[in-house]
Amino acid sequence: MELNATGFWVFSSLAVLSAIGVVFFRNIIYAVLSLISTLIMVSGLFFTMGAELIGALQILIYAVAIVVFYVLVISTVPEFKGQAFETKYMLISVPVGFLIFLELAFVSLYGAWSSNTGIFTQELIQQVGNTKAVATLLFTKYLFPFEVASLILLVAMIGAIVIGRKDHVIDEEAEK
């Protein structure tokens, strides 16, 4: 079997197994660990698709930075005592989810995009390399959205600081 195909089957089966773990583990710590596993497997899938830059960013940003947020918050919030699942939604959501999956698979197989092609041919991507092609598009055509994304990150950082601040800090400042 070809290396790409082997990689696809291994990574995708492990990703789906870990995703099932994310949804159905009662303990939130196990769910976060399954999430890390899913993210690393998705990164491997990106590598099999030839998107090396996005695969590396997936590990660096998602599997390291974002998951650390979750672990920090879980270590602050004590153990979740209530019931883990909504039993009344469980019965209906699994068949409805299966129907939605069938619809997504149908659309992806018989969609309208079979004849479209982009501006980069496969040979050109092979020639210049995936990272250079992505970076060229990012810093020419999508330069303005890139700058807006940096602004969004700045606003999110300030917002997280303001929201997460303790109230008694404000009170002490007011008393002085």
Binding site: V22, L72, W113, G118, A133, Y142, A149, A156, M157, I163
Partner: protein, 100 residues
């Protein structure tokens, strides 16, 4: 080469699993984690269509989705901390102030 339909079907499966997670979990942190699953499903679909169409624009959008996911995690977890500090609870069934 694996056909792109397999990748898109996998993306649909992960999306549906995230949707089920959002529907059935009662812990707010678990809801956010399921949302991360759905974002990853979208990323896989973008890169799969890139592979099919010989294009790299989808990977640029994956880059933007990564930044938005980081912002979403920071703000969402900040809100969870604020809710926990206010109510000492992160159960969605008891967050019913707006109903009353």
């Amino acid at each position: 080469m694996v056909p792109y339909e397999y990748y898109v079907a996998l993306s649909g499966l992960l999306m549906v699993l995230g949707l089920i997670g959002v529907a059935i979990r009662r812990n707010i942190i678990a809801l956010l984690i399921s949302t991360e699953l759905m974002l990853n499903a979208v990323n896989i679909a973008f890169v799969a269509f890139d592979m099919k169409l010989g294009e790299v624009a989808g990977q640029v959008f994956v880059f933007f989705i990564l930044t938005i996911a980081a912002a979403e995690a920071a703000i969402g977890l900040g809100l969870i901390m604020a809710i926990y500090r206010l109510r000492k609870d992160v159960d969605t069934e008891t967050l019913t102030e707006l109903k009353q």
